[in-house]
């Protein structure tokens, strides 16, 4: 997923770059055509339309998944500089609702797979409970990394849990 995001981003950046470079490299060429203001309106309106389409398609299904009735609740507590969970074994294919809290400063719960790819994250904030819902599709060892700067041992604030096949 991240690779796709990177590629799309680079393509759009190149598109915008091309748009301006055409003018930058044409200072010695002919003046802008009389149509330029029309082209500009077209650019602006296409950006608006594209924005509407992207907004509707990406928000219609709310990106923060809500837990279903049979979700397994896992509490995650944290603090400077540790994580702790109810369980270190999570059943495969089971929807999990993580309820994340911190006892001192802000933390960021980032769940990584064994390839060190970030799968999902949520903020942890003192005096609040933050929920994030995820269903693991692969068995194996997962890691929690801290995503919010929380002091001098921020980078050492990690934790491990396993995703196991039911009945295993």
């Amino acid at each position: 997923m991240q690779t796709l995001i990177l590629i799309v981003t680079l393509l759009v950046m190149m598109g915008v770059l091309a748009l301006i470079m055409r003018a930058v490299l044409a200072t010695e060429g002919p003046e802008p055509s009389a149509n330029a203001p029309k082209t500009r309106s077209k650019v602006i309106w296409s950006m608006v339309v594209l924005g509407l389409v992207v907004s509707v398609t990406s928000l219609r299904e709310w990106p923060h998944t809500q837990a279903g009735g049979d979700a397994l609740v896992v509490n995650i507590e944290s603090g400077q500089w540790w994580w702790d969970t109810d369980t270190t074994e999570i059943p495969l294919g089971q929807q999990v609702e993580f309820r994340v809290t911190t006892e001192d400063v802000n933390q960021g719960l980032g769940i990584y797979n064994s390839d060190m790819q970030l799968l999902v994250q949520v903020q942890a904030m003192p005096s609040y409970t933050n929920k994030v819902v995820y269903t693991f599709e692969e068995p194996g060892t997962y890691q929690i990394l801290c995503m919010e700067f929380c002091g001098i041992a921020h980078h050492a604030m990690t934790y491990e849990f396993d995703v196991v096949e039911a009945g295993a």
Partner: protein, 479 residues
């Protein structure tokens, strides 16, 4: 519209030149801090994490501060060409700013404060032994002095604009937008000045509120602040403040590029409309910093995503597009100032793309607080605001006898662009590789990217050294 010869020297220019020197030197020094951090992440250094986080804090605050300072100098310089501004106020601003800098540096390097430039409550009070409360108070007081300096700065611009146009709304050009006459509409620089002063004053006031609350909390820990409210306030302030730096610096493009193209930058309805949108968007967009705070109302998150996108429209559709039209077929002769100023707009326009994409809630789930984030802001700061600032500085001390780019200028410019682009793109790549930001120590699998970035960073540092030296030489020549 009045035609003003911006090259006529004016009283107070010396202060602006001094400011640009200060800004340039601090940019350079902070880049060296950045280089050290990236080398540390690459495993080439073995710093104490406490020192890394101090450098991170200094780099963040120092860079944002220098961007603000250079942007303010540019805005003051050009606003002062259209309405009278009192140099005494600028001097007070500069004095307060420097006092703030001294406090911030002292807090970091004497007091050991390392809570980052956008500190989240209650981290300043809970350092786990890394720094004492007084260091955090010193750091925060430093912000307060800088904030007060800026309030004075904007107050003076506001007073003079109101005097000249008979009201802030008129200086914003909003009457023209809503069907009023085109008579006596302010020039682009003043519209920018009025707009920035409106949103940045609001931003600073929110910043001051969270600052005051944090100081009270540091002195009486029982005084609790709601952490979610504090995060809203600090990001509202931080977002508005860093954006204001570019929106101030862009006036250099409005004023200087026409001296090359012979085509004055005009106040059109579209231009005023774009700035109207900016005033709203800049304030509404900060929710994109809280997309993983699922406790804020869903509508706020949706606003964060949608306004992030919308912010790109005036930038790309108006600012960048106008620049393209002004450039095309203008016969402009490229020299270093012109190249850097145009680079500033290009870097800004493409740098917001990864920001907008990260502003989507679904993408943010995977990119928030990874190095994707420094990836986008280094693009529009390093290749945006800072390029504009060095472009303005180079223009201030330009040698009127020299009309083309010397071989050395070309080398410096290419190194800056190439090094900067490579450096920023690697951050994006690292973000896409799920590497978190603000980590003092990187896993081995991540180190190659940091090492490569360090090499690019060296190129940027050398190019910037070239820009600073060239500016100093120009100052000496013109003195």
């Amino acid at each position: 519209m009045s035609t003003i010869d911006i090259s006529q020297p004016a009283k107070g220019d010396g202060l602006i030149k001094l400011t640009m020197l200060l800004g340039g030197v601090v940019f350079l020094l902070m880049m060296v801090f950045g280089l050290v951090m990236r080398a540390q992440q690459g495993g080439w250094l073995d710093l104490d994490p406490a020192l890394f986080y101090q450098l991170l804090t200094a780099h963040g605050a120092g860079m944002v501060g220098s961007a603000a300072l250079s942007g303010a100098a540019i805005l003051w310089y050009f606003t002062g060409r259209h309405v009278p501004l009192r140099s005494g106020i600028y001097l007070a601003f500069l004095g307060l700013f420097l006092l703030g800098v001294v406090l911030i540096l002292g807090a970091i390097f004497v007091g050991g404060y390392g809570g980052a430039w956008t500190f989240l409550f209650p981290l300043p009070a809970l350092s786990g032994g890394a720094w004492e409360a007084w260091a955090a108070i010193g750091f925060i007081l430093g912000y307060l002095f800088i904030g007060v300096g800026f309030l004075l700065f904007y107050l003076e611009i506001g007073i003079q604009l109101v005097k000249r146009y008979g009201g802030l709304l008129k200086a914003l050009g909003w009457h023209y937008l809503f069907g009023g006459s085109a008579e006596d509409v302010p020039p682009p620089t003043l519209i920018a000045a009025a707009s920035v002063l409106v949103f940045n004053t609001i931003g600073i006031v929110f910043g001051a509120a969270v600052i005051a609350a944090s100081i009270i909390n540091l002195i009486w820990p029982d005084f609790a602040v709601d952490p979610l409210f504090a995060k809203n306030a600090i990001y509202f302030f931080g977002h508005v403040f860093i954006n204001a730096t570019i929106y101030m610096a862009i006036t250099a493009v409005y004023e200087i590029v026409p001296t090359y193209t012979g085509r004055p930058w005009k106040t059109t309805r579209l231009f005023v409309g774009a700035w109207f949108a900016v005033v709203i968007f800049v304030q509404a967009v900060y929710f994109h910093h809280l997309l993983q705070d699922v406790n804020i109302p869903a509508w706020a998150l949706a606003v964060g995503q949608i306004v992030s996108y919308a912010s790109g429209v005036p930038l790309i559709g108006v600012t960048m597009f106008s620049l393209a039209l002004y450039l095309k077929g203008s016969g402009l002769k490229w020299d270093l100032p012109a190249s850097l100023l145009v680079l500033g707009v290009v870097g800004w326009s493409i740098g917001v793309i990864p920001a907008i994409i990260d502003g989507m809630i679904a993408v943010n789930k995977l990119m928030h607080n990874t190095q994707w984030v420094p990836g986008h802001f280094h693009t529009y700061l390093l290749l945006g605001e800072v390029a504009m600032a060095f472009g303005f500085a180079a223009w201030l001390v330009r040698d009127k006898a020299q009309t083309a780019m010397s071989a050395l200028d070309k080398l410096v410019f290419r190194a800056y662009v190439g090094g900067g682009a490579g450096f920023a793109l690697i951050f994006l790549w690292s973000g896409a590789s799920s590497i978190p930001r603000r980590w003092a120590v990187h896993y081995e699998a991540w180190q190659f990217q940091s090492q490569l970035a360090t090499v690019f960073a060296c190129v940027v540092v050398l190019a910037t050294l070239g820009l600073v030296l060239r500016y100093v030489r120009g100052l000496l020549r013109s003195a």
